[in-house]
Symmetry: C2
């Protein structure tokens, strides 16, 4: 293995490679579990839908993409049986997107896998350092978004 590559990584590369490694492992394991049609781009959508349902526009704001892009993603996930569109109870223009049973299976599988990965990281570096790492990243994210509150800029995984 080419060790040199890893000894001189700049900060941006470190973040990028870490995230990629995480996402690759996650989607590899999801594929093994029969969820091969879930793609990285869907990750944050599932995350948001898990907390409750959501309208298209809520999703668009959360994901930082247009409502048209959300609509297409929902088309795909609905066709694949992970979500359904329901009529909004009070607003006849609106729809609410909710997870199907199969959608919930994905969310649960995803959580399990991510917990495993994070657990392995904790074993490697210790719980205190992992905690610090999270604190620091949280601080950076928070600071980076102080000035311009808006637009979450395509967080894709």
């Amino acid at each position: 293995m080419n060790h040199q590559i890893y000894s001189e990584l700049d900060f941006t590369s470190l973040l990028s490679f870490s995230l990629n490694a995480l996402i690759d492992e996650l989607h590899g394991k999801l594929s093994e579990l029969g969820f091969g049609d879930i793609r990285p781009a869907h990750g944050f959508m599932f995350k948001y839908l898990a907390s409750s349902g959501a309208t298209g526009i809520e999703l668009a704001e959360y994901l930082g993409i247009t409502k048209q892009a959300v609509s297409k993603m929902v088309d795909y996930l609905e066709k694949s049986g992970y979500v359904i569109r329901q009529n909004h109870p009070t607003d006849k223009r609106g729809k609410i997107i909710i997870l199907t049973e199969r959608g919930w299976l994905v969310v649960k599988a995803k959580e399990k896998i991510l917990t495993e990965i994070e657990g392995r990281w904790i074993e490697d570096t210790g719980i205190e350092r992992m905690q610090m790492l999270k604190e620091d990243l949280t601080k950076f994210v928070y600071k980076a978004n102080e000035g311009k509150l808006s637009s979450r800029s395509r967080p894709v995984w």
Copy 2:
């Protein structure tokens, strides 16, 4: 500002948001400097070309994308005046892609901006913690790639 969003971020979100914040700031500043036609996808290409030149296939391997994709990126960057294709000195099939003067300006601007950002992070969290953070991420990246040495999986910024 919605503080709640930031207090409960899982690890994947933290990595994703940190990386996005970094990339957004970098490309915002590059735009201000007149390099608005450089896009996040070009980041690692510039990084690799800066160390020496490279053939298309070397770039493809480094970036984890196909040689056709590299060829298109090079078309774009050549048209924009950041790189040129030269004939390979010994292999008549091959080309070497090297940075133009304008390409070097981008590399230097990029390094300056990233150093600034990293400096701000160090101010916020301290040099020791920053060092630990880097060590930990390096360890994760290294471990994640032990099994399967190949394919760098689209590191895009």
